[in-house]
């Protein structure tokens, strides 16, 4: 019972969505629309559960005598800011404290972390772009052409590079992307089919 019923639920809900996509059967399509709305709602509950889970971990840390003081400080920060954001946001999505926390903590940190990708791009390029083998040389060659083609100053003096870069992006790159997508699509369909036919139960 504890596995059969969940598997049946997965199979039924999966087939409803698929049939609604391929056939114009009004009641099934209505059911599929309902189901997707339900999905959004259940996923929202999952976030609440996960957030509760995070809080439990940090509360656990605070009450653990042997935990380092430093980790406790961080747990206090997590719990405090979570409560401040959650409470003010639930009162009103336009609450000034909620907006302030968003503008002054979440937004700047988000942009800062995204921007750190530039540093990582530099170190990754330093390691990966080495002419060790034919394959690595192809990686390197294509990378250098596109880098030069995109650098504004190079483009102003040697417009040829920009054209070469556009060509690499448009022809070989496009071919590889398509090939990757076609292969991956077939794998994804198989993986999905295994779930909605009840063959794959690893998620239970």
């Amino acid at each position: 019972m504890r596995t059969e019923v969940p598997v049946a639920i997965a199979v039924i809900s999966g087939f409803i969505i698929l049939i609604a996509h391929f056939f114009n059967i009004a009641p099934i399509q209505a059911a599929a629309t309902h189901l997707q709305d339900w999905g959004i709602l259940i996923a929202a509950f999952a976030i609440v559960v996960s957030a509760a889970n995070l809080l439990m971990v940090h509360i656990g840390r605070l009450s653990n005598q042997r935990e380092e003081a430093w980790k406790k400080v961080n747990s206090v920060i997590v719990i405090g800011l979570f409560l401040a954001t959650a409470v003010t946001g639930v009162i009103s999505r336009d609450h000034h404290v909620f907006n302030w926390l968003y503008d002054r903590i979440m937004l700047p940190l988000g942009v800062t972390f995204v921007s750190m990708n530039m540093f990582y791009l530099v170190t990754a390029a330093f390691r990966a772009f080495r002419a060790q083998s034919l394959e690595a040389s192809l990686l390197l060659g294509a990378g250098i052409i596109v880098l030069l083609g995109n650098a504004p100053v190079v483009e102003a003096f040697v417009p040829w590079f920009s054209k070469a870069a556009t060509w690499v992006m448009g022809a070989p790159n496009m071919a590889a992307q398509r090939g990757l997508m076609i292969g991956a699509a077939i794998g994804a369909v198989q993986t999905g089919l295994r779930v909605i036919c009840g063959l794959d139960r690893s998620y239970l």
């Binding site: 530039m118 080495r130 250098i144 504004p152």
Partner: protein, 278 residues
């Protein structure tokens, strides 16, 4: 893929931290001391500029701000340049956002222009955020005051003079889509199909710019500003050097630096290999 296991960068020649420092300097120095390197203008930026230039004072333009904070670095400079062009030409601007985070950006532009004497509700208006991505787009184009009954300041949109005679998107001369992904050029073209006569001009991130190519070729989109570089080009055609142009110097140096590191990496790799051989 069975690539060779890591040689950790720190161990060979150049330390990570040193590379990070050089990266900061390569970007920061040109920002503090701009060099003003030449920027070549691509035809699609030039064409977009020409189409804006052809607008008459009093014409109305609809702009959607469909990018979030992470896309802003790439697109907002273009938004600033195009907005300035429209203001200089006394064109009336109606703005909207189909991405929740995009909602903040029109206000930032407008408050700067209000200080310079432009009037909210007469020269521009922001309708706020509309959900549903493409469905939101379709709804707004069909009935602007219906889909957005109140503006971002909470007043009925019909109470503002700028909205006189604006019923559908067909009452605007041009639609400018500033996109960080979804909705993007594809969605704009698809939803504006029924409203012939409204020109589509778009600015998007460098990453999705290549996907706009087919629409430009077919004439469905009249101009494209791609990423920060596109913004610098737009500033160049307008004849002023704004933020984007200064950023171009930094971007050039950063590109050259990355190439420099790749070359250095190869030299270190092959010399150390030689030494091992000896």
């Amino acid at each position: 893929m069975g690539a060779a296991p890591n040689d950790n960068t720190g161990k060979k020649g150049i330390s990570r931290q040193f590379m990070y420092l050089l990266t900061v300097l390569a970007i920061l120095l040109p920002l503090v001391f701009p060099v003003g390197m030449p920027v070549s203008v691509t035809p699609w930026v030039e064409k977009g500029y020409q189409h804006v230039e052809k607008l008459n004072p009093g014409d109305k333009v609809l702009i959607s701000f469909d990018y979030s904070a992470s896309g802003a670095a790439d697109i907002h400079p273009a938004a600033e340049a195009i907005f300035k062009h429209l203001m200089d030409k006394d064109v009336k601007v109606i703005t909207v956002a189909f991405v929740a985070e995009g909602n903040r950006f029109p206000g930032m532009l407008m408050s700067a222009w209000e200080e310079q004497g432009k009037v909210y509700g007469e020269d521009f208006i922001h309708l706020g955020f509309l959900s549903g991505h493409e469905t939101g787009l379709a709804a707004l184009f069909a009935d602007i005051p219906g889909a957005a009954p109140v503006d971002s300041r909470g007043n009925p949109v019909t109470s503002y003079p700028i909205m006189d005679g604006v019923k559908t998107v067909a009452d605007c001369k041009m639609f400018i889509g500033l996109s960080g992904g979804n909705p993007g050029p594809q969605q704009y073209v698809r939803q504006l199909e029924p409203y012939q006569g409204v020109e589509i001009f778009t600015a998007c991130t460098a990453a999705i710019a290549p996907t706009v190519e087919p629409y430009l070729a077919s004439g469905q989109i009249v101009g494209l500003v791609g990423g920060l570089k596109g913004a610098a080009e737009y500033e160049t055609v307008m004849g002023y050097a704004g933020k984007a142009s200064a950023n171009m110097d930094a971007q050039s140096f950063a590109h050259l630096l990355v190439i420099g590191f790749i070359v250095a990496g190869n030299i270190i790799h092959f010399t150390s290999k030689k030494n091992e051989g000896n």
